[in-house]
């Protein structure tokens, strides 16, 4: 009964591929039948062609390579800035209850504010260059790791803490030897959200005002109604996000070896 219902892992993967292939096929057919104008929605085949030429240009060292590297740099730098500040703030807030009570309401308010709305201001404050995009990426990416650092450290296993207390361990020793490593799985979950958010932040920053970067190119292609190229660039940005996400996951699996499921 159960065996006939479950497809197995390979079967499920095949089904997932069939699903996306079906969707793309339907999309292609709709476009080919002329149900929507290709100016509004180009067929997947056109997007694929554009994506291929985008990739070729990047490999060949054309202007798109520079734009990709600019966006990548802004994303990674913004992410780094966000996690350093989030870690510092998170540790202080988790370890000092006074600070938590004083700061939490403001942090919640700031988190609730639409951070993307700050983009024009940040452009004014940090200029037209990359630094405003780095700050924008950091701002958008800041809260998930902050919340997770606080939750991770405050949620350290009470039994391990009791062990440390029974050894009369100092606060610092307990923090370094138990609280921090115990919080790492939760902190890494925050990092994975943060890296994807910083791609968003960098692109939004480029939309508002920039002379380089993939967000800047998307805006230009949009003006020129080159919708296929816009789609291709969106695919490229998604790919960048996915690669960065898996890079963090790779680091996580190396660092947090003890959380890996055992055979």
């Amino acid at each position: 009964m159960i065996a006939s219902r479950s497809l197995g892992r390979a079967g499920e993967q095949l089904l997932a591929l069939l699903f996306i292939a079906g969707c793309l096929l339907l999309w292609e057919v709709i476009c080919r039948l002329g149900l929507v104008s290709s100016l509004v929605l180009p067929p997947p085949s056109a997007i694929a062609r554009e994506f291929y030429s985008v990739c070729r240009e990047i490999v060949a060292g054309g202007p798109l390579r520079t734009d990709s590297l600019v966006t990548l740099y802004e994303t990674v730098a913004g992410f780094a800035l966000a996690i350093v500040i989030a870690f510092g703030c998170g540790v202080l807030i988790a370890e000092l209850p006074v600070l938590r009570r004083v700061l939490m309401p403001y942090l919640i308010a700031l988190n609730a504010a639409p951070k993307i709305a700050f983009a024009p201001l940040i452009l004014v404050w940090f200029g037209f260059g990359m630094s405003s995009k780095v700050v924008m990426a950091a701002l958008v990416a800041f809260f998930p790791p902050l919340v997770n650092v606080i939750a991770g450290i405050a949620g350290a296993d009470p039994q391990k803490l009791r062990l440390m207390r029974s050894l009369a361990a100092s606060r610092w020793t307990t923090f370094v030897k138990v609280k921090l490593p115990d919080a790492m799985p939760v902190i890494f979950a925050g990092l994975k959200t943060a890296i994807v958010f910083s791609v968003v932040g960098a692109v939004v920053g480029e939309f508002v005002g920039a002379d380089a970067g993939l967000g800047h190119v998307i805006k230009q292609t949009d003006y020129q109604l080159d919708v296929a190229l816009t789609f291709a660039l969106i695919v490229l940005l998604s790919l960048m996000g996915i690669l960065l996400f898996y890079a963090i996951e790779l680091i996580e699996s190396r660092v947090l070896f003890w959380t890996r499921p055992q055979q």
């Binding site: 039994q159 391990k160 009791r162 062990l163 440390m164 207390r165 029974s166 050894l167 009369a168 361990a169 020793t173 030897k177 138990v178 490593p181 070896f257 003890w258 959380t259 055992q262």
Partner: protein, 247 residues
């Protein structure tokens, strides 16, 4: 070695007060194996936590080696219901944790740590991680960690209650062997009467709500004890006696 005089512990939960311990007085001698048994809620773990300096008392006196207990000290080694090993450390590094916390020289103690792991039959796993061990093996690592810095008093809070019966018996024998060798003062909390009789010199039988001492019973079984003790008629007789006191 340990003196409790009219010890009491009251928890205040909002408007309600909960008496966890009421006027418990007992003396535990140096080198004695002393068990606390009783139903859940009788305060046996609370006594252990007060001796460990982890929980403040609300009344009476608690002394360790003639000094009032004010907080955790290095003279005490502790073991809990679960092994509480740090999963990111090797088993050897887990045994060495107290050395690091106390700021002692790691190198001086690593030989001793390896000897202890060898004593409990785990030397092959010294550089492995806790998740590679079974529950009983993990508890043996915890025994090594407890013993490493040579504490004067061992406090064991239902250390084998999460294990299956066979493993429990095996670890009881290990503990007897180690205790026979080192003669530490042990305070052992359990709700397993058989285990308490097998291990102890004396057993404090407690009653719940409020947690109080019912009676202290001396266990008159020859040492060294072993698996053979478990089939000794005197053993069964003692178990029956403790059971009848418990009610």
């Amino acid at each position: 070695m340990i003196e409790l005089n009219k010890l009491s512990k009251v928890y205040q939960l909002g408007n309600e007060t909960f008496v966890a311990l009421q006027d418990v007085s007992l003396r535990i001698h140096e080198g004695e194996f002393y068990s606390l048994v009783g139903p859940s809620g009788c305060g046996k773990s609370t006594i252990l936590n007060i001796i460990a300096g982890l929980v403040p008392k609300t009344g009476g006196e608690a002394r360790l080696a003639s000094r009032a207990i004010t907080g955790p000290t290095r003279e005490i080694g502790m073991m809990f219901q679960t092994p509480v090993l740090l999963p990111w450390r090797t088993n050897l590094d887990n045994v060495l944790l107290p050395v690091e916390v106390f700021g002692l020289n790691r190198r001086e103690y690593s030989e001793q740590a390896l000897k202890l792991l060898d004593l409990v039959g785990l030397s092959a796993f010294a550089r492995r991680y806790p998740f590679e061990l079974s529950g009983g093996m993990q508890q043996r690592v915890a025994i090594c960690r407890m013993l490493l810095c040579d504490p004067v008093v061992l406090l064991m809070d239902e250390p084998f209650s999460a294990l299956d019966e066979m493993t429990r018996e095996y670890l009881n024998m290990e503990l007897l062997r180690i205790w026979q060798d080192r003669r530490k003062t042990v305070v052992f909390v359990t709700h397993n009467i058989g285990e308490a009789v097998l291990l102890s010199d004396r057993i404090a039988i407690m009653a719940a709500s409020p947690g109080q001492l019912k009676q202290v019973a001396a266990i008159d079984l020859p040492r060294p004890r072993s698996k053979a003790t478990l089939v000794d008629p005197t053993y069964f007789h003692q178990v029956a006696r403790i059971r009848s006191i418990l009610g």
